[in-house]
Amino acid sequence: MSNTITTPTAHTPPSSPGAPVTPRRRRQRTFATRTRWTGWGFLAPFMAVFILVFIAPIIYSIYLSLFHTQLVGGTSFVGFDNYVRAFSDPVFWGGLLRVSLFLAIQVPIMLGISLLVALAVDSGRLYGSDFFRISIFLPYAVPAVVASLMWGFMYGRRFGLVGQLNEFFGWDIPDLLGPQIVLASIGNIVTWEFVGYNMLIFYAALRVIPSSLYEAAAIDGAGQWRVITAIKIPAIRGALVVATIFSIIGSFQLFNEPSILQALAPNAITSTYTPNLYAYSLSFSGQQQNYSATVAIIMGLITMVIAYVVQLRGMRKDA
């Protein structure tokens, strides 16, 4: 490349002995600068979009979180006051504790079922496994809002499926929208929605395991259980970690399901039920956008730290 470009210098008349050197150097320098800028040029469309839709909102939120707007008195700069407030806000920590509980119980159940289903489909011993796979995945295609509405109606004791079961069989299924159980009811909806999605991640990872490993295992006389524990699960560890991280993020961002069910259980699901719901209420019914931004940023940081720790631990070679 550089040769072709520098060849013209050969044609310059040798009027002065030093002349050929200087243009060559200059040309080389312009070429170098141009290459540098060409790279940025290629990056520009991405960077523009990245800054606009990714960096700008975060910076704007941080900017918002440093102010305090009042109905009386307007806006004033308050530094980190909002953060101090958040760290001693029992409502915020209550919501965080609730989603943590949700995370600790719902995520293992959901991923366990997903793994089980993925292994079953992958085993090749299932009759009509394609159909099975599609039907397990189908709920993921149902929008979360619709799913919540649907389950909400089923949970109803006076009008829904639960009500009809109670009436028909004379059962007494407790109020699934009551304050004690409603978190579990939300967990059930989320599990229903995401088992298929996680199953697909696991299944895709299972499909790329080289069959030579299975053959070797068969020659060594390993049974199905041994194949699963010694080959399949270690081989899909990456997929397990990814699914876990997605689920952690999903749990901390819990919003749609409680927000929809709130209409059916207004007292059990408060406007501060999850951190996201809290941020939403702060901003849209309380007009406390500044504090809402603060809550959102803190939640983002907490989620990032936990997801990162899980990734570090999950990806460790000797884990």
Partner: protein
């Protein structure tokens, strides 16, 4: 190829120019009726069912005007959506239905267009005082009243007759009737309630309580005054003994319950008949209206519940046209259209109109319900006021006082928690809270 482009460019410029001209015309003229003749597009967010026909009539009269009437939710859902659109700075309606209690919040945040420039202040004597004062502050008008909500007892007379229940005149009798009915038919409840700030505050209002006082930026909140205590003493035993149906108002189940006898009565505002006719067709002929039960036998005290008007948002690009619609819907032809569909007016002319008072409602078995409702309008306990952030206050009612409906927390303690949260919010927002 190039001629085509030029032509397109020309056409585009012409369009842009004429649009600009049209805009200027609007801006300079500021004449609502002229704006209506010129036409344009309006978006209205409202849940009031009688508005649909008003919109149709207006569009027929002004063929150049296109109106999009959207129901984004009742009450707090609407305010959240409107607030949302205001914060975003776009996507909001030109006209929004706002209840009187919610006006303060939107006025305080300067989200509403002042309507004096269109001549709204000259309409003052056409409206009942309460509603008019609800829509204006310091002689600045921020909306026109659409209806008012003096309260009355709506009851399923057929069900009452079946179970031999007399129409209660006092709250004590009301509570006794609730027990009698639920005992006679365990599927029937006298009333539904899952924690409704508007309902509880209206009861406190009728009982003579004044929990909210505002003087400038000083806000007083006392949800344990004599009025509030009367209310909790009445309601707590009913909640304890599960005499109150755990059905949320305005839910599908609620409409169904009003029709099939699950819910036997409602104590609510005079705007209810229109909602019953449109939402509870099944109950037609069974329901009747009686005066609101009293705290002391022989009294005539009532309170308002809800009642709303239409406001033009500050962000509206069609304010003059929007105002023209407001006049049409509240004092013009639209008002009559709404009354004929069962809406309860806020205009003095209509409130005292013989024809209005004598009108027989087929839905209510031919009863002249407007006589009851007009009486109620005249007996509203004076001196009540809401908080300047009542819409927010109502939105957190269920977080605090709502506990009384699902746990061992008493309603009185729940109201105490509500008060505490409101005081915290008031202080945070720069008010002096007492």
């Amino acid at each position: 190829m190039s001629t085509k482009t030029t032509r397109r460019l020309l056409a585009g410029t012409a369009l842009a120019l004429s649009a600009a001209l049209g805009l200027t015309a609007c801006g300079v003229g500021q004449d609502p009726s002229k704006a209506a003749a010129e036409g344009g597009e309006l978006t209205i967010w409202a849940w009031e069912p009688t508005l649909k026909k008003v919109v149709e009539a207006y569009e027929e009269e002004h063929p150049e005007v296109k109106i999009d009437l959207v129901n984004v939710g009742t009450g707090n859902d609407q305010y959240t959506a409107v607030q949302n659109a205001i914060s975003a700075g776009s996507g909001g309606p030109d006209i929004a239905q706002l209840e009187y209690f919610a006006m303060g919040q939107f006025e305080l945040s300067e989200s509403l267009a002042e309507l004096n420039e269109f001549g709204a202040d000259k309409l003052a004597d056409q409206f009942a005082t309460g509603p008019w004062e609800g829509m204006s502050t310091d002689s600045k008008v921020y909306g026109l009243p659409m209806d008012s909500g003096p309260m009355a007892l709506f009851y399923n007379a057929a069900l009452f007759k079946k179970h031999n229940i007399d129409v209660p005149k006092t709250w004590e009798q009301y509570a006794a009737a609730a027990r009698k009915l639920h005992e006679a038919d365990p599927k029937s409840y006298m009333v539904n309630d899952t924690g409704d700030a508007g309902f509880i505050t209206s009861l406190i209002w009728q009982a003579g309580g004044k929990p909210f006082t505002t003087q400038g930026t000083e806000v007083g909140i006392n949800l344990n005054d004599e009025g509030a205590q009367k209310v909790t003493k009445l309601w707590q035993p009913l909640l304890d003994d599960k005499m109150v149906a755990p059905i949320t108002s305005w839910s599908d189940e609620w409409y169904k319950g009003l029709g099939d006898g699950t819910i036997a009565s409602l104590v609510t505002g005079a705007w209810m008949p229109a909602n019953m006719e449109s939402g509870v067709a099944e109950g037609s002929g069974d329901w009747k209206v009686a005066p609101m039960p009293q705290w002391e036998d022989g009294n005539m005290a009532t309170a308002e519940n809800g009642g709303s008007g239409l406001s033009v948002l500050k962000d509206s690009k069609n304010a003059a046209l929007a105002y023209d619609f407001l006049e049409f819907a509240t004092v013009g032809e639209g008002a009559d259209l709404r009354i004929s569909q069962g809406a309860f007016p806020a205009t003095t002319k209509d409130l005292n109109d013989e024809e209005f008072l004598n009108r027989k409602f087929d839905y209510f078995g031919g009863q002249q319900i407007n006589k009851v409702l007009s009486d109620s309008s005249a007996n509203v306990v004076p001196g009540w006021s809401y908080l300047p952030f009542q819409a927010y206050a109502n939105s957190i009612f269920n977080d605090t006082a709502g506990k009384a409906y699902i746990s061992n927390t008493t309603l009185s303690d729940g109201l105490g928690q509500w008060q505490k949260s409101l005081q915290t919010y008031a202080t945070d927002q720069g008010f002096t809270a007492k």
